[in-house]
Subunit: 137 residues, 2 copies
DNA sequence: CAATATATTAGAACAATTCTAAAGTGCTTT
DNA sequence: AAAGCACTTTAGAATTGTTCTAATATATTG
């Protein structure tokens, strides 16, 4: 598989050198079909399991912040406890399951007519996102 | 004006004694017609101006947390920098103005048919809220 | 005006994130 | 392949937002 090649190019395209640590982080974040939601803490645990050694927390933060700034991931805020990140950078909506603390994507096609009647003069809309909080019945 | 009377009762109804500090906080939060969005930091600055002495940060946090737990205010998360609070505890939507860092309410009647097609089996919906990020044109 | 229960406060503790600067690695040039 | 330089990683310090602690102050009750 030429994934590490791909990730190398991805990193270079972002002006980042393809180091061992960054390639491992890429594997966790991008080597999957499905969308991936994570916290820094969760990511570090995954990396620790994967590698049996740990990548320093500063490197994890630096890398994630670089990816965020490059537009390869985005930040999702839904409560004050944890900051979530999302490898799906398109404009989309979320279910947040309060029972499991899980985030689940959904898309424009899953809501009817999300059309604003209200407008703010002199402002342009950057994003419109719906957050649906759910819990066990 | 019998506002301090009202606030006294409000505090008692929440099982809180009406102290000087809590009454001052009530005035800032609730003695207004419009909805009020604030951060802890912003609230403390308002209180300091109003009083010329400061209420300790621990008291501000304790009081706001009590009000949150009693359902008198709610927490709004929109970025990882600051936690916002809202005296409007109804289910409603927000514009977040990235240029001014201001939060503006809007309501169900301001969106067309916010109706979900997607559903999660075994889960019940706690809230559906839209966040519209805007910035200067 | 006690006695007692609860609240306020400064500062300590804690957690998440960023900064610092020393040591290590990757890249370019030879 | 080695040298030199730029960039990266790291541990630990610093910073920030929040909660805890325990001593002092205030509110309530009798
Ligand atoms: Mn690997
Ligand atoms: Mn006053
Ligand atoms: Zn998502
Ligand atoms: Zn609001």
């Amino acid at each position: 598989m030429s994934n590490s090649r791909n990730f190398e190019e991805k990193l270079r395209s972002a002006g980042l050198r393809p180091t061992r640590q960054r390639l491992e982080i890429c594997e966790v974040l991008f080597d999957r079909k499905e969308t991936f939601h994570f916290t820094i803490d969760g990511l570090q645990k995954i990396l620790k399991n994967k590698l049996n050694t740990k990548i320093s927390i500063a490197t994890v933060y630096n890398t994630i912040n670089s990816f965020k700034n490059k537009g390869y991931i985005k930040e999702i805020s839904l409560n004050s406890e944890k900051t979530y990140f999302d490898t799906n950078v398109t404009n989309h909506h979320h279910f947040y399951d309060e029972t499991t603390s899980e985030l689940i994507d959904f898309h424009d096609s899953d809501v009817e007519h999300l059309q604003l009647r209200k407008n703010l003069p002199g402002k342009k809309i950057k994003s419109i996102e719906v957050l649906v909080k759910v819990a066990n019945k």
